[in-house]
């Protein structure tokens, strides 16, 4: 009786986890830019992994296997946000602008401030170009383009 209940619970948790994991993977393919893809993969790394591991822990019962699964779950849950944060920081640092639906930007210290209103699918994004140019003028080394970063990497590798 108890066994059946546990197996059913574990099966349900596994199915739910598999669904969320697959959802995150589909988002990884279909989302428009790298930041939204990070958000989609966050679904998999938290809810998907959490439910799958919970299902396996229920199936394993109170054994060493469950403890190891809990260790893996803890490692993934603690480390996945760190990796995502580093990835987002690196992408912002490399000059990748998030694709925005409305014309809003994150002002420094000012929170969300609305810019001039434009249709969402305006052909040329003049505001972003201006912002990029301003940032490039302010920090010429950091705002190097991707090609420049590549050459920088190559020259650095050669010199050291």
């Amino acid at each position: 009786m108890m066994d059946t209940v546990l197996m059913l619970a574990s099966g349900a948790l596994l199915i739910v986890g598999a669904f969320f994991y697959l959802t995150g993977a589909i988002g990884l393919v279909r989302m428009p830019d790298v930041f939204t893809r990070m958000q989609a993969s966050g679904i998999s790394d938290t809810v998907g992994v959490g439910f799958l591991m919970a299902g396996m822990i229920v199936a394993a019962g109170p054994t060493l296997i469950a403890a190891k699964l809990a260790i893996i779950l803890a490692v993934v849950v603690f480390i996945s946000p760190v990796a995502t944060h580093a990835l987002a920081q690196a992408a912002m640092h490399a000059g990748i602008e998030p694709v925005l639906a409305s014309r809003r930007v994150l002002g420094l210290g000012a929170g969300l401030k609305p810019l001039e209103t434009k249709p969402a699918n305006a052909p040329a994004d003049q505001g972003a170009k201006k912002r990029k140019a301003r940032k490039a003028a302010a920090r010429p080394v950091k705002r190097a383009s991707k090609a420049k970063a590549k050459t920088r990497a190559v020259t650095k590798g050669k010199s050291s």
Binding site: Y21, V34, G55, M56, I72, V75
Partner: protein
């Protein structure tokens, strides 16, 4: 149930491989690599359950620890072009 979950994880990994191959920026590829690392851990655990060999979980723990170090190493290399950079000058 384990078979269904394994199939879902395998499908997710196929989608992530597509993103890793066709990602327009290097960050998409790093994200997909991170995703594939997590998927490999899950796959190891699930296959361990299916075949009745829980020793796979130890390998899974190892993969979980290697995954984050690999991701951070690639990101640091891409940002500074050098893994021994202290990272403090540019903040």
């Amino acid at each position: 149930m384990f078979e269904i979950a394994t199939f879902a994880v395998l499908s997710a990994l196929a989608l992530a491989v597509y993103r890793a191959l066709s990602g327009p920026t290097v960050f998409d590829r790093v994200l997909a690599a991170n995703f594939i690392g997590t998927g490999a851990i899950l796959l190891l655990a699930l296959v361990g359950f299916i075949t009745g060999r829980p020793e796979f979980l130890d390998i899974g723990i190892l993969y979980a620890l290697l995954n984050v170090i690999g991701t951070l190493a690639v990101l640091k290399f891409w940002r500074y072009g050098d893994l021994s950079h202290s990272g403090e000058e540019e903040g």
